[in-house]
Amino acid sequence: MSETNPTAVAENPDEVVTQARVRYFPMPLGAGTMALITLDNGHDHTRPSTFGPGGLASINEALDEIAARTDVAAVGVTGKPFVFAVGADLSATSLVNDPAIISAFGKFGHDVMRRFGEFSIPTFAFVNGAAMGGGLELALHCDFRSVSADAAALSLPEVFLGLIPGWGGAWLLPNLVGPKRALEVIISNSMSQNKQLTPQRAVELEIMDVIFAPSDFLEQSVLWAAQVLQGIVAVERAPIDRDSWDAVVDAARGQVDARVHGATRAPYIALDLVQAAKTNSRSEGFDAEDAALTELVMSDPLRASLYSFDLVQKRAKRPVGVPDKSLARPVNKVGIVGAGLMASQLALLFARQLMVPVVMTDLDQERVAKGVAYAHTELDTLHTKGRISDDKRNRLKALITGTTDKSLFSDADFVIEAVFEQLDVKKVVFAQLEEVVRPDCILATNTSSLSVAEMAADLAHPERVVGFHFFNPVALMPLLEIARAEKTDDPCLATAFAVGKGLKKSCVLVADRPAFVVNRLLNRFLGEIISCVDEGASFADADAAVHAMGLPMDPFVLVQMVGPAVAQHVAQTLNGHFPDRFHASEKMGKLVAAGLPGIWLWDEAGNKTVDPRVLEIFGDAPSTMSPDQIRDRALTAITQEARIMLDEGVVAEAQDLDLCMILGAGWPFWLGGITPYLDRGGYSDPRFLAQGIASVPA
């Protein structure tokens, strides 16, 4: 019997308490009485169960009740339909500014949950549904685990949020399945956009012992428990190799470094905990988690991460400033002008998500055929991979067609152009379309830097023109910037947002200002870095400048990926609009003119060196600026730009800027998008966000 006497922590009156209810019944096979704890917060699966102080206290009481009986042979714990438990209740965390509170909450959770692993009789977790964070940790404390084949989420996402598994996971998991498997969950999955384990994978990794079909999951789980108790079934787990432990953690550390360059503490602290778990006792491991948790929760980056998570969960799904959806018109046929790679990707996206006819057009039949063929080939690939059925593939192929006869657009409800990024080209396209389409057909432009209003200026019906800016690759990037031009009317805007939602994108309303949000901020930031290089900084230092931020890609790697010609074109366009702040580097212009693909050359070992032809253009003088100085310049510039953009009303609030940078540029949670990071670093005066919104409250 455990000797710990969990000390309850102050209750949060707003907590939606997950109750732990106990019932007793005889198990099959004469295995004795089971005490089954059911975790239920009284809501359905749309409000999954979490553990706050009240929830932990309820579990504690349930265990007390069971411990007081002498007739119980085993303890089971299970959840409510579709949900086992999804972690600690973090809703009040943003308000906390006292480390003692965090520390006490962490310890209370440890003391309660560890009772499952230290009980006098065997304990079984019947993971009937989603188990994340503290929910999965509770299951890990138990002696045995079954999982339902339809459990939709299994993970320890704490590192994704900027925390560490704080209720035992960092010690229990590596001691259960070894450090390699543990780190797959704690670090690798977390940092891959919070990837979840499938139930099957969980069994493969021996995180779960057995898997059962959902239709009679609990019945089969209890039967299995009885078989385990009666010795009919033996639960075998692979022995853990402690000799390679250090090497495994070191290798993981290297991978984390390559990914975030030390820009965020959480994965490194998690690695330290997993390292220490090799020799720490259970209590030492739990104490270490408490200390780590307290340190992280009292840090601004964690608060920024929670703010980011909240933006992505809530604001992304309910865009601000959008006209009522009742104004949206139905879209039953889509036209796409342009048949290049972008247009083909759009065709695929529209067809797959909206399931309506999509007609592509371009200058000549050859281009059209190529565009349609690209889309059809992609469908074949999806079919070969088993992602779509025969019938689906046939249906989608029939939906995507091509023509040079623009009259086929006459009954289109929504036409998007993805042609060459030049104003007069786009104006011609729109003029030709207007001859054919209905007056209320939406004309959307995928332009990244041109004026939507100017594109619409000479049309008879400019009110149905809207900016509809995707990010590359279209299938993966979730952000859609929807730009309202001067004359864009409410029904057009409502329809655009409805289509965006139908395409499963996160839509943000932006003003018709050059480069909207992401490209403008990104180019201001990158432009400043390029200026530093023009002034003598080295490419290596310039790329290293962002490492402290942990951006997904180094600046010049990004330029190379996008293509220097494209990057320069955007820089020139923005220079045209804002000559004082955006510069088009002459040297980059020469690089583009020379047709060079980028700055870097990689050898087979993955080492990169500057292309000598680039050095010829930029000069080989020793560097004059440190990465810190370069970063400081870039952050000062982006601060200024963000302020101007808010003043211009490009978006409603700083939160929108941050959401765009997270979803459109992939900027990490710990920056809060960008404005929390600028506030934190003292670049903004006044602050973009009040203290406590994405930072520790005063």
Partner: protein, 396 residues
């Protein structure tokens, strides 16, 4: 001349029955039958699910969680291949029995080799008569007495018709049912055919149900005698000598005997014949009399040939009416040896297969018994009877 195929009862199973408004209140009816079907197939691993030619499931109220063509819906939810079709049956209390006879007819006709029959009734979610809309002609043309719509009143009517079936006899029979049920539990016999069911309760927590909820092992004659008679003042029918409102599900596997042999399936009973018959709805309890007479006549058997009886105990009086008709003593040990619906409950459409599963178990425990009968009365005035032959000894 084409030889008529023989139908064998391969196996049967049921959920524990719960009192209406109790343990299964937050469990869906389709989930109940699905869990029973899955366990039944697990217990018969030599039967490949893709070879099931059809699934027929009965429910008296086919709506909500008992609707949507429950036969097909449950087959899909149970994980049967989607190539296995399904349909639904309603003959009120004898739904599952009719599922068995209908599927068996297809097997005898050579259209099917293997079939899965079932019954489910969730009387908490669907009280008897939910959604019922009697045609006014019943009253205006006196087609059926209003009393016929209330089962309890038909039981009182039966006492009127047969005055020698007294309340004392009914109570004594009820006590016997409780005692036999308790004994069968004590001997571990009933448990063999039960499928444990995990039942959720949002307020109390989830539980595994492994035994019928309704039985009252401490029943006494004095206790029964004191009960109210809700259907008639100073009447004879009480809650104690009638079956209670219940939630439950049953399922059975049937096969062409030759195919069963080829696949190496268990064979517990062989179907000899069946019959359904109608009676005046206001004395529906007497239904088993003509249906049994008809089945015996058709099969050329006499009542003396029958070694075991599983008679549904909707009301004690109705069982006794059948026994009196055939001159069988109230406490004849061939009658419901494992107890009956008075103790465990009667989830309407499902009971027919409970009788059959019981009879198959009775046969196993009585190898010298040759013929047995499963019979039941049916609301709106019918009776159904199936005659079976004991072949439980013929398995390898």
């Amino acid at each position: 001349m084409v030889e008529r195929a023989n139908v064998v009862f391969v196996d049967g199973a049921r959920s524990p029955f719960a009192r209406a408004g109790s343990l299964y209140s937050q469990t869906r009816a389709d989930d109940l039958i699905v869990k029973v079907m899955r366990e039944l197939l697990r217990r018969n691993p030599h039967l490949p699910p893709e070879k099931i030619d059809d699934v027929a499931i009965a429910a008296a109220t086919q709506t909500g969680d008992q609707g949507m063509n429950i036969g097909r819906s449950a087959a899909l939810l149970a994980g049967l291949p989607n190539t296995v079709p399904g349909y639904s049956i309603d003959r009120w209390c004898a739904g599952a029995m009719t599922a068995v006879t209908t599927l068996s007819s297809a097997i005898m006709a050579g259209a099917y080799d293997i079939a899965l029959a079932g019954g489910v009734e969730h009387m908490t979610h669907h009280p008897m008569g939910e959604g019922m809309d009697p045609n006014p002609r019943y009253l205006s043309e006196r087609i059926v007495d209003p009393e016929a719509m209330l089962m309890g009143k038909t039981a009182e009517n039966l006492h009127d018709r047969f005055p020698h079936i007294t309340k004392d006899r009914a109570d004594a029979f009820a006590l016997g049912s409780q005692e036999k049920t308790a004994k069968a539990y004590a001997n571990g016999v009933i448990q063999l055919d039960l499928v444990p069911i995990a039942a959720r309760n949002a307020e109390l927590g989830s539980i595994l149900v492994s035994a019928d909820e309704a039985p009252r092992p401490g029943t006494t004659l004095e206790g029964l005698a004191a009960l109210k008679t809700p259907f008639r003042p100073h009447g004879r029918v009480t809650a104690g000598n009638a079956s209670g409102l219940s939630d439950g599900a049953t399922a059975a596997l049937l096969a062409n005997e030759k195919v069963a042999d080829e696949l190496g399936l268990n064979k517990k009973m062989r179907m000899i014949g069946f019959a359904f018959a109608g009676v005046e709805p206001e004395v529906m309890g007497v239904g088993p009399v003509p249906s049994t007479e008809k089945a015996l006549a058709r099969t050329g058997l006499s009542i003396d040939d029958i070694d075991l009886f599983e008679i549904n105990e909707a009301f004690a009086v109705q069982v006794l009416a059948l026994l009196d008709h055939f001159g069988i003593a109230d406490d004849d040990e061939r009658v419901n040896p494992m107890g009956g619906a008075i103790a465990v409950g009667h989830p309407l459409a499902s009971s027919g297969i409970r009788l059959m599963t019981n009879l198959a178990r009775d046969f196993t425990m009585n190898p010298t018994a040759k013929y047995g009968i499963t019979t039941m009365c049916i609301g709106l005035g019918m009776g159904g009877t199936v005659i079976w032959e004991n072949i439980s000894g013929s398995n390898a």
